[in-house]
Subunit: 259 residues, 2 copies
C-alpha cells in the first residue's frame, strides 16, 4: 500500500521473491475470470439470462458491475506490477485506459438497474448496497479526474506528485475493496429477494452464489497481496528516471535536452 521502494531489498519475504510474481498474477487472472464466468453462469442458469428488455434487464447490472468495477478495476491496479520494468508513461496510460473501460461498463450496469427500477416502479437508492455503490461510483470518478490531472494532464510538479502518489494508491485500493464489498452486498440482496426462505435449504443456486461470493473475496485478497508486496513494486531507478522524463516532457515538450 505504501509506496516505499528503497528498503526491503535486503529483506526477502516468504514465498514472495520477484520470480513468483507471474504465478500470483496468473492466479489473480484465473480467479477474476472465474468470478466473471460464474456470474454469467448464475444469471444464465438461474435468472433467465440477459437482455435489455423486461425483467432480464436487471441481470445486465450484476454482470457489468463485476466485469467493470471488480475485474477490470482490479487489473488496472495490477498494471504497475505486471509492467514493472516497462516505461512508466506507457504503464500510466494503460492504467488510466483500463479505468475508463471499467467506468463505461459500470455506467451501463448502473443505467440498466435504474431503468429497470423505473419501468417496474421500484424505489431507488434505499438499500445499503445502493448507498455503497453510489459512493464507489462517485469516488471512482473523482479519483480518476484527480489522478489524470496530477499524473497525465496538465500534470503537477514533481514534489506535488510525490506527495499525492501514496494517497492515490491508498484510495485506489480502498475503492477497489469497497467495490468487492458492494458486489457481495448486492449478491446477498438478490439471493434473499429471489430465493427467500429457500436459501436456507441449500438450493443449488444459493450454494453457487455463496461460492461466487468467496471467489470475489479471494480475487480481492490476491490483488491486494500483489499490490502490497514491497519487493514487487516498480524498481526505484526505473521510476525516478521515468518520472523526471515525464516532468521534462510536460514542461519542455519532447526535446531531449537535459535540465
Amino acid at each position: 500500500m505504501s509506496s516505499c521502494h528503497l528498503s526491503m531489498e535486503s529483506r526477502t519475504s516468504m514465498a514472495s521473491s520477484p520470480g513468483a510474481l507471474p504465478y500470483y498474477v496468473a492466479f489473480s487472472q484465473l480467479l477474476g475470470l472465474m468470478v466473471v464466468a460464474m456470474t454469467g453462469a448464475w444469471l444464465g442458469l438461474y435468472r433467465g439470462g440477459i437482455a435489455w428488455e423486461g425483467t432480464l434487464q436487471f441481470n445486465v447490472h450484476p454482470l457489468c458491475m463485476v466485469i467493470g468495477l471488480v475485474f477490470l478495476q482490479g487489473d488496472a491496479l495490477l498494471v504497475y506490477r505486471v509492467f514493472r520494468n516497462e516505461a512508466k508513461r506507457t504503464t500510466k496510460v494503460l492504467h488510466g485506459l483500463l479505468h475508463v473501460f471499467a467506468f463505461i461498463i459500470a455506467l451501463v450496469g448502473l443505467v440498466a438497474v435504474f431503468d429497470y427500477h423505473r419501468k417496474k416502479g421500484y424505489a431507488d437508492l434505499y438499500s445499503l448496497h445502493s448507498w455503497c455503490g453510489m459512493l464507489v461510483f462517485v469516488l471512482c470518478f473523482v479519483q480518476w479526474l484527480v489522478g489524470f490531472s496530477f499524473f497525465l494532464f496538465p500534470g503537477a510538479s514533481f514534489s506535488l506528485r510525490n506527495r499525492y502518489r501514496p494517497q492515490h494508491v491508498f484510495f485506489g485500493a480502498t475503492i477497489f475493496l469497497l467495490s468487492v464489498g458492494t458486489a457481495l452486498l448486492g449478491l446477498k440482496e438478490e439471493l434473499l429477494f429471489t430465493l427467500g426462505s429457500k436459501y436456507s435449504t441449500f438450493e443449488p443456486e444459493g450454494v453457487l452464489a455463496n461460492v461466487l461470493g468467496l471467489l470475489l473475496v479471494s480475487f480481492g485478497v490476491v490483488v491486494l497481496y500483489i499490490l502490497t508486496r514491497a519487493e514487487w513494486k516498480r524498481p526505484p531507478q526505473a521510476e525516478e528516471q521515468a518520472l523526471s522524463m515525464d516532468f521534462k516532457t510536460l514542461t519542455e515538450g519532447d526535446s531531449p535536452s537535459s535540465q
Copy 2:
C-alpha cells in the same frame, strides 16, 4: 501494509506528518465507538434489546461481533502505531491480549447465534454471511496461534521473524477487512429478514442501519489508512533494538550480556 521502515523518511506525504497521527487515531476511536453505540441503539430501539433467552438471544450476536471482531480487532492493529515509541515487547503483548479479548467476545456472539438457531430449529451455515464469518473466525485463530509462536513463545529466529512479519501484517489487515465486510453482510441479511419490503420505504430503522453500514466502512478505511502510512510506522531504531532484545531474552534469558 508492507513493513518497510527504512525509506520514505525523505518523502513526506500530504496530510500525514507524524504530528497528525493522534488526530487520526482519535477520529478512528470516535468512529469505532459510534459503530458500537449505533449497533446498541439499533438493537435497543428496533429489535427489543438484548437477553440470553428467547428471540432476544439473537441480538447478542451482532453486538458481540461488532465489539470483538470490528472495534477491538481494529484497535489491536492500531497498537503498533499508537505506541510506536514504547518498548516493542510491551506493545506486542498488548496486541496479543487485545486479540484474545476480541476472540472471546466473538466466541460469545457465535455461541449466541448457534444456540438461537438450535432453539428455533433454523438451519445453520447456509448463507454467504455465515460462510465468510466462519472463514474469519478460523483465520483469526490460526493467525493468532502462528503469530504467538513466531513472535512470543517459543519465538522464531530473527531472520524467520523478519520473513514472516510482512505476511502476518498483510493477513491481519485482510482478516480485519473481511470482518467488516462480514458485518455488512450480516446487517443486510437481518434488515431484509425483518424489514422485508418496508426497507424500500425509507423506514427509520432501514436508514439507521444504512448509516451504521457506512460507519463500519469508514472505521475500516480509517484504520487501514493509519496502518499503511509509511511515516507512521515504528521508527527503525526502536524496532531493531527491541527485536534484538527479544532475541536475547529468548535465547539467553534476561541476562544483559551482549552477543
